[in-house]
Amino acid sequence: MSNSIKIISVCTGIFVGVLMTVQFRTSTPAASSYPLDQLEAQKQLIKEYIDEEAVLKSRISLLRDKIDTSLKNNEALIKTSNLETLNRLKASMGLTLKSGEGFTIELNDSPFIDRDNIPKEEPGLVYAADIRDLVNLLRSHKVEGIAINGQRVIAASTITSVGNTVMINNSHLAPPFTVSAIGDFDSLMLRLQDPATLTDLQKRVTENGIRFSIQKSPYVILPVYNGLFHTNFIQAATNETI
């Protein structure tokens, strides 16, 4: 064997060795390594949890309604000022129905896409990040309240995704995503015409078929927030001027 061949063989060997090392050291989550029956069981478990969640949330809404009714019945006994304070606080936390003039935005996947059978990072899909950006835009537009597919969005609301599933307030939501808000429609339209607003979403609406439409509404009703408020780690400071 000539020297050249030997050199090429040695170089190739080293290159293959490097590739193999990199290959086996790359930690990538496998798409699936489970038998079909296990995957089916997992899907069934998720469905059961979602069903249970719906029942629990409706029970919470019912109990909050009953508490409100009971408070109204005791109104004569309870100092009016206390009840007013409580109602004001509840309103600012999204614990009361809110209605007024506003608009609805519908955000939907590209019509050519099946959400359940597509790879990750498909630009024709609406992602949780898109909804977060839209909610942030509405907040900076000073809207008075936001709801998405019947879920009231508050400051502590989470808009996350697990794979291609979008979860708001830990509730599973499916497209189309209808974002309802109370606020000024005309100035929002002006803002949306700015190419620097929602840049990525605008690009994907134009190039990848994501559907985005907005409609003015004389009367938008926002539902009551049906999630939780945890305060077990928070203490009231004695000196309120911290």
């Binding site: 309870i78 949780a128 400051a155 305060t231 000196n239």
Partner: protein, 218 residues
């Protein structure tokens, strides 16, 4: 070119070895490139598919909802009782004030200091991830986030504004909650810190666990 002239000197085993090596090389290159692409895409703005994470989130959420139902049932009994109603309302008012920002608060938590200038989308993503990790109150550069907070706005010069205040690095995210758990969630593989690191090459941050994080009233 000299190499090609020497082709006539190759023996059959050499040709077989070279062909097999070429095949292996091609296979490894394609496989590695596909893995690399997949790895990069999972580090987008949202977490990748993880069925166990989904199940865990749903389970925890349902346990919390069941706990809330117990509390509301007790509260309903109390408000139905005229003697207890006033006291229950006062307790509810105090609890709600902790959330709305009507009073100053404190509690254990963590402080995340980020020295890198971030774009507006990452502020919404960080805050979202913090609430998903179970934090109970958040402030950024001493601005407490509540339902009256206006969203993050990007100014034409790229600066970020929150509640009419321009945010400049270092950004200090102060959060109240279960400190060890929050730190673990945000620093987990595929978590917000990893996603920021993959986006900003110069990303630098510091997390400090604190027994007392203070936030002023709005």
């Amino acid at each position: 070119m000299k190499l090609f002239k020497q082709n006539t000197e190759y023996t059959t085993p050499q040709i077989i070895i070279l062909a097999a090596t070429g095949l292996l090389l091609g296979f490894l290159l394609i496989t590695q490139s596909r893995y690399f692409t997949s790895y990069v895409t999972t580090l987008g703005r949202d977490s990748g598919e993880n069925v166990f994470r989904k199940i865990q989130m749903l389970k925890t959420s349902n346990n919390d909802l069941a706990e809330e139902i117990s509390k509301l049932e007790l509260q309903l009994q109390e408000v139905s009782n005229q003697a207890l109603a006033l006291e229950t309302i006062n307790k509810d008012i105090q609890k709600n004030k902790l959330i709305t920002g009507d009073i100053a608060i404190y509690g254990p938590g963590i402080e995340i200091e980020i020295g890198t200038q971030l774009s507006d989308i990452w502020f919404t993503d960080i805050v979202n991830e913090l609430f998903a990790a179970g934090v109970q109150a958040v402030s950024i550069n001493s601005l407490r986030l509540t339902d009256t907070t206006i969203g993050f706005d990007k100014l034409p010069n790229g600066q970020i504004m929150l509640n009419n205040v321009i945010l400049t690095p270092p950004y200090k995210f102060a959060v109240i909650g279960e400190k060890t758990n929050i730190k673990q969630v945000i620093e987990t593989s595929g978590g917000i810190i990893e996603r920021l690191k993959s986006t900003y090459q110069d990303f630098n941050y510091k997390i400090t666990e604190k027994d007392r994080i203070e936030m002023s009233k709005i």
